[in-house]
Symmetry: C2
Subunit: 512 residues, 2 copies
């Protein structure tokens, strides 16, 4: 459902936001670029056939979740122990009830986002136990850090969605942490967010909190959170993730089914082998959501990298990963579901050139490929172990550039600028011409990080690297954060829900 | 002329080169990826029509070169003073004699490169007056620095062509410098190279030296140097560049016609406006080569950036530049000539994250777009004022990754890896499986710069940034450089030519 009628308004808004000194949010991206597909039809058909072979002949293990096995048996799969052999074509058939596109509702309707079609949504890093910044160095994340990242994501113009847990608040007991995390997302930003349910109980709590905020009836036909569901590659789902998946699907909330495949470790050493595996796993997991509740919104996810054949360490931003990002989007479109991949992945320990090369070679392919939800798009360092404050705002700057790129080349009369060429003619310059005067404020995105001054001026100002400049940017943003506020009754309902849950949970590493 | 028969050999060679510990050169790229085109047919037709409007109605100035004006008048253009109005369709018609593809011959035939079609050739930075490295900082370039960069380009696996003058040897008088530069290229590497003729005399000397090395008869049907010809945008060519262009075309040597357009200064503030200007200028310059000698090899070049609307400083790696790179390749293909753009451009003063983001957002589009000659692909810093030793080897590492990416996804039985998936099955890993054992050595490109170790190990080793690690890489490469040698008679002939020329040139800033 391309929203072409809104396109001119959207273009104006983005240009105005770019020109404005104050922080303005961009609407999520409606791309005007064609999607880039690198695989031939022959190649995608081979990968699709191999995925069906994997499902039918090798099968997928659904561990410690009898209900999933029951659903598969009823659907006609061959279930032997916990191994489910899914006949060719069955998973694809089941996925016909999954929506091609869907809306994810935020408490501020202006910040609703759309998944699928020509929409692209950027969301920040999720999952790291550590955080780092230039002042305090690398350390465990805290709830305070998480709130900071939620605020930064709330303010960054081209971060449209708050994503998952930017850093784990390590000071809070693991079985209660999810409550404070989810509350912080709902409370300190009015844009949409993920949940990161690691157990069925987490998933129920995420849905419970969402009901407290939005109302139980509202959730029935309004997805307001996305649950991130990882398979245990290769070819396995465990009971905790399966339970969380079933909770979310039953509540009509969105799920993302994401294998985390590093080629050479959880997948073969070749991209085409990994893609068949990823497609098989996501088809199995997504089909299960449709067995739970036909029509439940679900996203095909991939998280791609490779291991170093020298050390076994994870690598990102390499050519193999780039190929897999393009392939993911292409396969998801053929399957008719939204897709997630991305975003600014890197192995680097510091926000240096390695980090930027690797991130750019993940992010730009994601945008060109037409990925719908770009996760981990800001702040990711060290293979996802660390959320970096400086990296966060550096990446956010790149995201704004990607949003401009996605608008395509302006080919209107303004864009053609023939009048300017006639006015200026040979051998002069365009600095003061009428067309430049009329358009310079909105002509180009103004980077918040890049330094374009002369060597002499840059040296006089301390010869700062991009990372050092970024240190000032995030501090200024946090100082300028404005609380979006919240309806007191909704806030009270959430706090009451949390108090009730915490009263029955004793501190523990894992839910029982 | 797609060289498909050589493809399997080429793939094996690249995989072997990747796996080898010693430095092995990759052959130039024969892409297996489809070319990525972001402009609609409607958009390119508008730009093409506007270019014709510029040529016919505004016209191009050919300054201080009566011979060019005479050639245009004879060809049917309307010449008023130095302003040439080229009737619609004439330039495109004249370009029908330009070769769609051509070979550039190196003194080592294994290092010949091909321009056009599915070929992509990487070449390093050209033009900076300054060099920098972490030990000695930023300083004027010398002949010693130039030789170092020629050696690094000779050794870097994915730099297929030595390009233009990586840094100006500032200690040599400007009117003699070109002789030492050209000799160094011919002497210290056996791969092909550019010349950077700034005057007709330089061009004659470049051709003279090439004749001394290759023989006069050989040059008649073997292009062995490429002359870089810049227009003075907007819409102007000066007499010195025009004379150089005519010398090269007359000698059947290659030319690249390259407007240097920074949007907002030498072009309009819009990408579509700049592209019409670039197309008009390149069509005019390239058509002139065909008036001089029909069939002379010529390349359509673009060098794209924008100015900062805050400071007027040049910016690179921005969305507008990315759009223009894709557009350049698309327009050149429609015109039926090879194209040049790229490569690893940035504004950054240091080889930091800004440098890497900007470079990656220039390089990856160049590869995806199907640019045939990617110039400035390694070593570029500070808007081209500086050639950086660390940046050079960091970029060279990225080029090798781009070469792997260009091979596309391996969809052979090996690539599909179904046997591996069957062997491993659910819940295990691929680290030791047979397919991994058989393929791990050649599976992934091994970065020479990236650090994939743990935070603890990286810290123990001094917490080096990518730039700091790169410092060790270029030193090791220079220490390991092996002189390719040269035929003594050819060397003597070149040295005699240079001695003869220097005897009649008194030190001066400019040729008379």
């Amino acid at each position: 459902m391309s929203d072409t009628s809104a396109a001119p308004r959207r273009g104006r808004e983005i240009r105005r936001a770019r020109a404005s000194a104050r922080t303005v949010k961009y609407p999520y991206i409606r791309r005007k670029l064609p999607v880039v597909e690198l695989l031939s039809t022959e190649a995608v058909e081979i990968i699709e056939a191999n995925a069906e072979t994997i499902l039918a002949e090798i099968g997928i293990e659904f561990r410690r979740d009898p209900e999933s096995l029951r659903l598969w048996r009823e659907a006609g799969a061959d279930v032997a122990g916990e191994r489910v052999h899914i006949p060719r074509g069955l998973a694809r058939q089941l996925l016909k009830t999954a929506p091609r596109e869907f809306e994810l509702y935020a408490r501020n309707p202006e910040r609703n986002v759309h998944f699928g079609g020509d929409a692209t949504v950027f969301s920040p890093v999720g999952g790291p136990p550590f955080v780092t910044d230039l002042d305090r160095g690398r350390r465990y994340g805290t709830l305070e850090d998480l709130k900071n990242f939620i605020k930064l994501a709330h303010m960054a113009p081209a971060i449209h969605f708050s994503g998952g847990c930017m850093c784990e608040p390590m000071e809070i007991a693991p079985n209660k942490r999810h409550l404070d995390v989810q509350y912080s997302f709902f409370r300190f930003s009015d844009q949409g967010c993920e949940a990161t349910p690691e157990t069925p109980g987490h998933a129920r709590d995420a849905v419970g909190l969402a009901r407290a905020l939005f109302g139980t009836a509202y959730l029935e036909d309004h997805p307001v959170v996305l649950g991130n569901i990882n398979s245990n590659s290769p070819l396995t789902f465990d009971g905790r993730m399966l339970g969380a998946l079933r909770e979310f699907a039953a509540a009509n909330q969105g799920t993302i089914v994401v294998p985390a495949v590093l080629a050479g470790a959880m997948g073969p050493v070749t991209a085409a082998g990994c893609m068949a595996e990823i497609l098989a796993e996501t088809m199995a997991g997504m089909a299960l959501t449709q067995l739970v509740r036909p029509g439940a919104p679900v996203i095909l996810g991939s998280f791609v990298g490779a291991i170093s054949m020298r050390t076994g360490a994870p690598t990102f931003g390499t050519p193999e990963a780039t190929q897999m990002i393009f392939a993911t989007a292409q396969l998801a479109r053929r399957l008719g579901v939204p897709c997630r991949s991305g975003g600014s992945l890197c192995s680097s320990k510091s926000a240096d050139a390695q980090a930027a090369y690797e991130s750019a070679h993940t992010l730009l392919p994601t945008l060109l490929a037409g990925v719908n939800l770009v996760t981990h798009a800001a702040g990711w360092l060290e293979g996802g172990l660390v959320a970096g404050y400086e990296k966060f705002v550096m990446d956010a700057d790149q995201l704004a550039m990607m949003q401009v790129l996605a608008q395509g080349m302006d080919i209107s009369t303004r864009g053609q600028a023939l009048d300017a060429l006639r006015e200026v003619g040979p051998g002069s310059h365009f600095l003061g011409c009428e067309h430049t005067q009329a358009n310079f404020e909105t002509a180009f995105y103004q980077s918040t990080i890049a330094d374009y001054s002369s060597y002499e001026q840059w040296s006089a100002e301390g010869a700062l690297t991009a990372e050092q400049r970024a240190n000032g940017v995030w501090k200024k943003m946090l100082a300028e954060y404005q609380d979006p506020g919240i309806d007191p009754a909704a806030d009270e309902a959430m706090l009451a829900f949390i108090a009730g849950r915490k009263a029955v949970l004793t501190d523990a590493v894992e839910e029982e």
